[in-house]
Amino acid sequence: MSDIRSRFESEVLPCLDAAYSLARWLVRDEHVAEDVVQDAYLRAFRYFGSFRGGDARPWLLGIVRNVCYSWFVQQKRTREFECDMEDADAPSLDGQDRVQTPETLLLQKVERAQVTAAITNLPLAFREVLVLREIEELSYEDIARVLDIPKGTVMSRLSRARRLLQEYLSDYR
């Protein structure tokens, strides 16, 4: 096995679950997620000769995300995808953040299936930031790089995503 390939296998292949998980959350289809991951690994291998080391996971997840977005565009779901993106950073309508009370956040028995459904239904921009932070536990800096947005935007989007998720779940009573 060549030196580059063995280095790639030891550094990038262990990130396979992370890659598949992100792809699956974004494209919401287990078969498409597999295709996405294969394409992402192909591209990652092409770029790897110049990868200067460090944590391969955020680097690979950035590639996975780009491949997911290529898929969205190719599926001609541009309209759906644009709607998802457009309101992600808009200021809230009532001019201030809603106050969260224990009553509105009544999460009784939070079941995995309910959580999965709620995340799946989040608009794309919120879903991706939430998954990268809460499931992949990337730093704000790494998320900013993966999504190609400023760190401040990561934080405000994440805050809204968390709130939205809890609102969805508070409807399951």
């Binding site: 396979l16 110049s50 999460l107």
Partner: protein, 218 residues
């Protein structure tokens, strides 16, 4: 009462967020894919096998066959450049067929050029010839001569011109010219330690004009 916008989610909620595991066959398929020799046809064949969601599945097979047939054709120049010419033509055709034309889409050379840093160990010169009627539209990583190279994408009316930039340390190849290969115009030249290959279906005159413009600007 929780008014802190950055407050963490409740632990019981986080615990029920799923981190999916890759299905068992996926790792095996990826390792198999990585084990293939990196020849030009590899990308076409590898992608065709799982490209269920690519809209032009049939064209893949055609692209792969064309790539293979072009690989075996030797152009009438220095014997050791024949395979490179075949490869760049095959890469050009494939970039159009599988719609993977660009990794970075921008008409701004100041966006395209830095995109390659960290992905290649050389910095391709990126020139915009919009004033001559050949605007830059973007770039991508491609594979030629078994190594990753920069491909710069230009447009001439409805036609695409791919320019492959190879770091060239061999001083014996200063020759330049335009040849025809399977209906495509192929221009080649050397400048500043780099070897350039431009491929397009524009006319011979237009390719000569393009190559002259690029060389004058470099």
């Amino acid at each position: 009462m929780d008014t802190d916008p950055m407050a963490e989610l409740p632990a019981e909620l986080k615990q029920n967020m799923t981190r999916y595991k890759a299905p068992p066959g996926l790792k095996r398929r990826i390792r198999y894919m990585l084990a293939q020799p990196p020849r030009t046809g590899w990308f076409s064949a590898a992608r065709a096998s799982w490209s269920r969601w690519m809209p032009v599945g049939a064209s893949f097979a055609c692209g792969a066959l064309l790539a293979v047939s072009l690989m075996t054709y030797r152009a009438g120049m220095t014997a050791d450049e024949g395979p490179i010419e075949s490869q760049v033509v095959a890469s050009h055709v494939r970039s159009l067929m599988d719609k993977h034309l660009m990794d970075v889409a921008s008409t701004d050379q100041h966006t395209v050029k830095p995109w390659f840093s960290g992905k290649l160990d050389y910095a391709p010169p990126v020139i915009d010839l919009a004033q001559d009627g050949f605007p830059l539209v973007g770039g991508r990583l491609d594979y030629v001569d078994d190594r990753p190279v920069a491909a710069l994408v230009y447009r001439r009316r409805g036609h695409i011109i791919n320019v492959f930039v190879l770091p060239e340390h061999d001083a014996r190849r200063p020759d330049s010219g335009v040849t025809a290969d399977h209906g495509y115009q192929v221009a080649r030249w050397t400048r500043g330690g780099m070897r350039f290959w431009a491929v397009s279906d524009v006319s011979r005159d237009e390719m000569q004009k393009f190559a002259a413009g690029m060389q004058a600007a470099q």
